[in-house]
């Protein structure tokens, strides 16, 4: 196990380097650049612009820029934002909380709902109930997030006035409840569109298990149906969901991008989008490396967790 983990860790580090290289090239290859914002300043001359570019190190060859950036990254210096000179790590940290809240709230909503839907569909395979559950999944899967968000804003915010349409809090109302009310619509949106992920995996896993002999044996020995579902089927179906969660959870960071934009939710997704628009290379690259590291770390943790939880995998 330890050897396996070390090997995995080594592979992950290599992957991280690769991702950062490709990302660096792609980000710098995008048309436009961070100089655009200076170019529009009144009285800007091309000589002054070149001076700024030189100051930012943008006039050097790309490979030199990469080496410079990655060497500093390795020592823990993630650079500063072009926009306001805030350190990149501080920026990420400030936006991480909002995204984590949104991700957690949507997970609390989507995971139980998706698992329940998947179990029901697996148990009622071939019946109208299964078709209905599948239909619901497909509908949720095909709903565009931005559209669903806008519909919720229109219905619950504009028409009914139940929930606020955006931002973390109402200025002057710092209370916990106010915060929860702001969280409601974005987490509902992100939660609903994430339901099909959990339901489809659960349906596949639970369906396989449901057809196995040990379920039939339990039935033939008089174990009540609810016990079979809750104590026999569910734990076995949840185990393979651990690695799925390990892959999925970090993608929430970027997956929440649309939701965060619609609801002006100041999270990581918003930060990425804004930074991209400004061609704020240090922040974009910082986010890229951060997300990639998070993906690799989560899948590693999930793998360890899976090994710890599944008695079949324990040596």
């Amino acid at each position: 196990m330890t050897g396996f983990l070390l090997q995995k860790l080594g592979v992950n580090c290599l992957l991280l380097v690769l991702v950062s290289m490709v990302g660096f090239v792609l980000v710098h290859a995008t048309p436009g650049g961070p100089l655009a914002q200076f170019a529009l300043s009144p009285g800007m001359t091309s000589a002054r612009l070149a001076e700024i570019a030189h100051g930012m190190g943008l006039d050097r060859p790309l490979w030199q820029q990469y080496l410079h950036w990655s060497a500093r990254l390795a020592t823990g210096d993630w650079g500063r934002s072009y926009r306001d000179q805030t350190p990149v790590l501080t920026m990420i940290w400030l936006h991480l909380g909002a995204t984590a809240q949104l991700g957690l709230a949507s997970l609390i909503l989507s995971f139980p709902l998706g698992v329940a839907l998947g179990i029901v569909a697996a148990l009622r395979a071939g019946t109208r109930t299964e078709h209905l559950a599948s239909l619901l999944s497909v509908v949720l899967l095909s709903l565009p997030t931005f559209w669903l968000g806008l519909v919720f804003i229109y219905v619950f915010s504009v028409r009914l006035g139940w929930f606020p349409a955006g931002n973390l809090t109402t200025p002057g109302h710092g209370a916990f409840m106010d915060h929860l009310r702001h969280l409601a619509l974005p987490s509902l949106t992100l939660g609903l569109v994430s339901v099909p992920l959990w339901s489809s995996y659960t349906q596949a896993f639970a369906g396989d298990i449901w057809r196995q002999d040990h379920i039939r044996t339990a039935r033939a020995l008089g174990v009540p149906a609810w016990r079979i579902v809750v104590l026999h089927l569910l734990p076995e179906a949840l185990l393979p969901l651990i690695p799925v969660a390990g892959v999925y959870l970090p993608t929430l960071l970027s997956g929440a991008l649309v939701t965060e934009t619609v609801f002006t939710w100041p999270g990581i997704g918003r930060l990425l989008l804004d930074s991209l628009q400004y061609r704020d290379y240090p922040v974009v690259m910082g986010l890229l490396v951060f997300s990639a590291a998070l993906v690799l770390l989560c899948s590693l943790v999930a793998e360890i967790l899976h090994h710890l939880c599944d008695p079949r995998l324990r040596g």
């Binding site: 033939a220 020995l221 008089g222 016990r227 104590l231 599944d310 008695p311």
Partner: protein
């Protein structure tokens, strides 16, 4: 093997199983006496498993007709027995594992792969014997010892993956007898095992019968296995019983041509000893449910077939010889029984 004053443990009458228009099994009649081991023998698709699953209410979506009465001791409905067919699930479920248990072919997949043997035994004991805590633990260890697990205490903590196929089937049997059932339906319980392990498991089942007086329906396609364990042999062909005989009489002189063919096609040591190398073969295959004619279902493959009456009328299941009063009956389904003789 009928206990004084008691009827058979299981009495099946006119059992029919169909899915929609397709009839898989029809008109099945057989009894299982107390402590008796009845082998249900037949090729794949003859309806062996389907019949027993139907009796236990484990065949969702099937249309089931007829009657299957469980005569079990107890305050409820002792004299008339308990009708299993059509019994609502909430009343049927408590009987399973307690009065009738069923075990299946593949011991590799018959146990929950992520729960320990101990947890699985304790669940059944809590359910059917009302035991928990220490008492359940002790009883579980006893059961494992009873089915011949060498280190029952250690076995309790293992998950099935750590056990061999034979050990797993022993654990499955321990689960099946934990509720102290009067009847065990065993669906090919030895088919997936090595021959030496097969013999051990058969030995175990015979011991359990002797210890607990538990009756058994033993489903198998293997006549050698049937001869080793059965008191009575019931041969199924294309969803019908074609012969029902005491084991000794059956293996000495099967009467229905299909049974003869089956026996001739079974490899056995006595055949090797007698120098006969060639196995008999049965030409053709079992007709699928929707291609069964009006006549004898075995007629198309039968060496003794005559266009009339075989292909025209379905022969009845008849007494082969006038059985003495109280003697075990020998029934066979063949229109030319007398002409063919022994």
């Amino acid at each position: 093997m009928t206990a004084p004053g008691g009827g058979p443990v299981l009495r099946v009458r006119k059992l029919g199983v169909s899915f929609g228009q397709t009839s898989l099994v029809d008109g099945l009649n057989f009894d299982v006496g107390r402590g008796e081991i009845v082998a249900l023998v037949g090729e794949s698709g003859s309806g062996k498993s389907v019949s027993s699953l139907a009796i236990l209410g484990l065949l969702p979506g099937a249309d089931i007709s007829g009657s299957a009465v469980l005569h079990a001791p107890g305050p409820a409905g002792d004299r008339d027995g308990i009708e299993l067919l059509g019994r609502p699930e909430r009343l049927l479920r408590p009987l399973r594992g307690k009065r009738v248990s069923m075990i299946f072919q593949d011991p590799m997949s018959s146990l929950n792969p992520i729960r320990t043997i101990g947890a699985q035994l304790r669940e059944i004991l809590a359910l059917h014997a009302g035991l928990d805590g220490r008492a359940a633990e002790r009883r579980a260890v006893d059961l494992l010892a009873q089915v011949g697990i060498v280190d029952p205490q250690g076995c309790m903590r293992l998950i099935p993956q750590r056990l061999s196929g034979g050990m797993r089937q022993r654990v499955v049997i321990a689960l099946a007898i934990a509720g102290g059932p009067d009847l065990l339906i065993a669906d090919e319980p030895t088919t997936a095992l090595d021959v030496t392990i097969q013999a051990q498991v058969l030995r175990l089942l015979l011991d359990l019968r002797a210890d607990m007086g538990m009756a058994m329906v033993f489903i198998t396609h293997n006549l050698a296995v049937a001869s080793a364990i059965a008191d009575r042999v019931v041969v199924l062909y294309a969803g019908q019983i074609v012969e029902d005989a005491p084991a000794a009489a059956f293996f000495a002189a099967p009467r229905m041509p299909y049974s003869r063919g089956l026996l001739a096609a079974a490899p056995g040591l006595d055949r090797i000893a007698s120098g006969a190398r060639r196995l008999g073969t049965l030409p053709g295959q079992v007709p699928p449910p929707d291609e069964r004619g009006a006549g004898c279902r075995f007629a198309p493959r039968c060496a003794w077939m005559m266009p009339d009456p075989c292909a025209r009328r379905m022969p009845a299941l008849e007494h082969v010889a006038p059985a003495g009063p109280g003697g075990p009956p020998h029934l066979a389904r063949c229109a030319r029984l007398e002409e063919i003789g022994e």
